[in-house]
């Protein structure tokens, strides 16, 4: 598949596709972070996670419209406001869903799978009713448009770099929250042993709601990032849920570093191969590789080394 390209051309193709894949990488990391936290904590596989992401994307769209109509002088800053609002909206919806639906279904993993699947359908229809079936796109502020030309042939999109920096900051933030904050420590205790966490005085229900809301909120931020690489439609989130599960399983559930590494591998492989092959062939090859590696290492890329 590399015939007809000179070595210099190949280098620039790899570099540019690599940088183009950064936005996809960011969406994967943010989605997978939320999913991994929720799955690790409560054993809940949230099939509606993609719809939480799309909620964040719609919030970004609404914020961008609001800024261009009423606050056009500050339009260049709307994306920061949009991200915060996307986080809050998705986290609030997450907390509500946990309270109404999920908490009644703990210890029934299959039922939560069905319930969150149903929830995803409800949300999709909700978006269709409110925002219409047509896809919407946001206008990026000027400073996020365009690209840096590193050499004559290699150009790097600015928005991809920006989203990746944000993703790194958010990942570090989530890591610090989980490692250092009181709620983070309580969350890790509940993950390890729910009954015992209660017996040392941790309010496990409160921790569950916090975790679910946090995971969904991060998906909302992923939605903000998503508006830069795709147009927002009611069913756009569904396309990402399978890839995100792949990232979580491949990285080794409940390991942040593994999640980042696996998101990077998968998104880069995808992005680079898409240039040479069709999109579906690229996906087939990625999946086959991941399946192969998981057969050799079922626990995922990274695991902790401890006695029992």
């Amino acid at each position: 598949m590399f015939q007809g390209y000179t070595a210099a051309e190949l280098t620039s193709i790899f570099a540019m596709q690599g940088f183009a894949g950064l936005s996809l990488f960011s969406v994967f990391v943010l989605m997978a972070l939320g999913l991994a936290i929720i799955f690790g904590q409560m054993g809940v596989i949230n099939m509606a996670h993609g719809e939480f992401m799309i909620l964040g994307a719609y919030v970004t769209y609404l914020t961008s419209n609001f800024f261009s109509e009423h606050l056009s002088s500050m339009f260049s800053l709307y994306f920061f406001v949009a991200m915060i609002l996307a986080f809050i909206a998705a986290a609030l919806l997450g907390a509500l869903v946990e309270w109404v639906l999920i908490r009644h279904l703990y210890r029934r993993p299959l039922d939560t799978l069905l319930a969150t699947w149903g929830l995803s359908l409800i949300l999709q229809q909700g978006y269709r009713t409110i925002f219409g079936a047509r896809e919407v796109g946001v206008t990026l502020p000027d400073w996020l448009m365009g690209s840096y030309a590193i050499t004559d042939m290699i150009e790097v999109p600015v928005n991809g770099l920006f989203v990746m920096c944000l993703t790194i900051l958010i990942t570090i933030g989530v890591y610090l929250v989980m490692q250092k904050s009181r709620l983070g420590k309580q969350t890790r205790a509940v993950v390890q042993n729910r009954a015992m966490a209660g017996a040392v005085g941790i309010n496990t229900e409160k921790v569950d709601r916090f975790t679910f809301a946090l995971g969904c909120g991060i998906a909302g931020i992923a939605g903000s990032a998503f508006t830069m690489i795709g147009s927002t439609g009611p069913t756009a989130g569904q396309l990402y849920i399978v890839d995100t599960f792949l990232v979580v399983v491949f990285g080794g559930a409940s390991n942040l570093l593994g999640t980042v590494a696996s998101a990077f591998t998968i998104s880069q492989a995808q992005s680079t191969m898409e240039f040479f092959l069709s999109g579906s062939m690229a996906k087939v090859l990625t999946l086959l590789t991941v399946v192969g590696i998981l057969m050799l290492r079922p626990q995922g890329l990274f695991t902790l080394k401890i006695r029992s």
Binding site: R182, K185, Q186, R188, A189, Q192, N193, A195, M196, A197, G198, A199, V200, G201, I202, N203, T204, E205, L304, I306, R307, S308
Partner: protein, 228 residues
């Protein structure tokens, strides 16, 4: 004072603890003995709310039945489970900090490290990498962090070498004296129970069949209950 009355615990249809009545006055160390399968662990787990129970459990007059585990800890129960159940991927310090949740967080009080100096030495190690005896000390420190009125220990000597068992007995008595604790523990090792307890109970099939203060206990009789 811890009072249990008309206390029942069942797994589905099978009743394991039936119509239990027990009063433990403040500052007393009570050892519950009995063979395997007689309901010791079930009783202690139900006290902290890990298993549902029926009837009444009152701590200093406050009714705790119907409360979730974390509320019971907040009301003054502390629990050291069988097999320690420390959070193995968290560090020693973090393990103790989980116990501070009920008292509003903060840093680990230094008197806990004074009681168990080895935990201070190992505070940055992961809990899962500690030896069994160290894990037992960690589990006790974690329970004490919530500043309980009643400390419940389920077979604290299980899998621990005899010399350390003696240390644990001594430490527990010291903790009781320093903090005016009430201690309720289940035990299979008669010598340890005689070493530590003020009062010895024997349960069989979920009922108390023997209840004597330490001084007047008939060792042979208790031993006969424990023999298969």
């Amino acid at each position: 004072m811890l009072e249990l009355s008309d206390y029942n615990v069942s797994y589905g249809q099978s009743r394991v603890i039936s119509d239990f009545n027990l009063t433990v006055p403040d500052n007393e160390i009570v050892a519950i003995m009995g063979r395997n399968g007689m309901g010791k662990t079930t009783l202690l787990k139900s006290l902290i709310g890990m298993i549902p129970m029926e009837g009444s459990i009152r701590l200093n007059g406050v009714e705790l039945s119907g409360c979730k585990s974390h509320k019971r800890v907040k009301s003054g129960l502390g629990f050291v489970p069988q097999g320690r159940m420390i959070f193995s991927t968290m560090t020693v310090k973090e393990n103790i900090e989980t116990g501070l949740t009920a008292v509003g967080g903060g840093s680990v009080p230094s008197d806990l490290y004074d009681l168990f100096p080895v935990l201070h030495e190992m505070r940055k190690r992961r809990g899962g990498n500690l030896s069994g005896g160290q894990q037992q000390q960690l589990a006790i420190a974690r329970a004490l962090a919530s500043n309980p009125r009643v400390l419940i220990l389920d077979e604290p000597t299980e899998g621990i070498q005899p010399s350390i068992i003696k240390d644990i007995a001594k430490t527990l008595r010291e903790i009781r004296d320093a903090r005016n604790l009430t201690i309720l523990l289940s035990e299979q090792v008669l010598s340890f129970a005689l070493d530590i307890a003020d009062r010895i109970l024997v349960i069989e099939k979920g009922e108390i069949v023997h209840d004597d203060p330490r001084d007047s206990v008939d060792e042979n009789k208790v031993a006969s209950y424990l023999a298969v």
